[in-house]
C-alpha cells in the first residue's frame, strides 16, 4: 500500500471540504471538482463502501480518470478487504475498474 503522509491527508481533507462547501452553495460543481474530491476521498476514507463509491464515481467520470488513480484505488481497497460481501464487492470493483482502465 502506498505510504500516505500526514500532509497529504490534511490536503485531501481540505479538498473534500471545499467541494462540499461549493456543492451546498450557489456555485456549480464541475467534473474536475468531483474528480479531485473523490481522489482525495480515496486517501482519507476509512470504510470500504466509501472507497468503493469513490471508485464508482471516478469510473463514471472515466474519460477523465487516470490509470494511477485506478491502480491506487485497487490497492487501497484490497488492503482492507472484508470477509463478508467480498464477492459482491469484487464484481462491483472489477466492473468499475474495467470502465476506468
Amino acid at each position: 500500500m502506498p505510504f500516505i503522509g500526514g500532509r497529504e491527508t490534511k490536503r485531501a481533507r481540505v479538498i473534500i471540504e471545499a467541494y462540499r462547501a461549493r456543492l451546498a452553495s450557489d456555485q456549480r460543481v464541475s467534473a474536475d471538482d468531483a474528480i479531485s474530491c473523490h481522489e482525495a476521498n480515496l486517501i482519507v476514507a476509512k470504510d470500504l463502501e466509501n472507497r468503493v463509491r469513490s471508485i464508482q464515481t471516478l469510473a463514471t467520470l472515466r474519460s477523465r480518470a487516470t490509470l494511477p488513480t485506478a491502480v491506487h484505488a485497487l490497492v487501497t481497497v484490497s488492503a482492507t478487504w472484508p470477509t463478508s460481501d467480498s464477492v459482491d464487492l469484487a464484481w462491483m470493483l472489477a466492473d468499475a475498474l474495467r470502465d476506468v482502465l
Binding site: 452553495s25 460543481v29 463502501e49 463509491r53 464487492l89
Partner: protein, 131 residues
C-alpha cells in the same frame, strides 16, 4: 420560511444544514439514513433529491453500481406518490436521465448544470405552479 420540506440524500450534503433559501432541508448521507428518517416520520418531505452515486449504508443488498437509481425505485414502491423525487448526479447522460425518470424521478439534473441553491429555487417554482 416556506412550507416546502426537502430531503437531500447525498454523501456530500452538509449534516448541520437546516434551511436553504427559505426552504426547510433535511440531509441524509446514506440510503440507510434516508430510510430511517422517512420510516420514523422524522422527515416528511415534499421533495426528495437523490444523488445517484450515494453510499447504501445497510440499506439493500447486493451492493449496487448506481445505488440512487435503485433507491428511487424503492421510494416509489414503498411510499407511492407521497413526495416527488429529483435525481442528481455529477454526470447525467441522456440514458441516466431516462433511467431516473423510469425509476420514478420527476426530473434529473447534472451537478454542473445547476447549483444546489438553483435547484431549491426550481423546486419552489414548481411548487408555486402546483407541479
Amino acid at each position: 420560511m416556506s412550507d416546502i420540506e426537502v430531503l437531500w440524500l447525498d454523501d456530500d450534503s452538509p449534516k448541520s444544514i437546516k434551511a436553504i433559501d427559505g426552504v426547510r432541508v433535511v440531509t441524509a448521507q446514506t440510503c440507510e439514513q434516508a430510510e430511517a428518517l422517512l420510516s420514523s416520520g422524522k422527515a416528511k418531505p415534499d421533495w426528495i433529491v437523490v444523488d445517484l452515486i450515494v453510499p447504501q449504508g445497510n440499506w439493500g443488498k447486493p451492493f449496487r453500481r448506481i445505488p440512487g437509481l435503485h433507491y428511487i425505485k424503492h421510494l416509489r414502491n414503498e411510499y407511492g406518490n407521497r413526495f416527488r423525487i429529483l435525481a442528481l448526479s455529477i454526470v447525467m447522460t441522456p440514458e441516466m436521465k431516462q433511467m431516473s425518470i423510469e425509476a420514478g424521478a420527476v426530473d434529473a439534473y447534472a451537478k454542473d448544470s445547476t447549483s444546489w441553491v438553483g435547484l431549491i429555487r426550481d423546486l419552489r417554482g414548481r411548487a408555486a405552479h402546483g407541479d
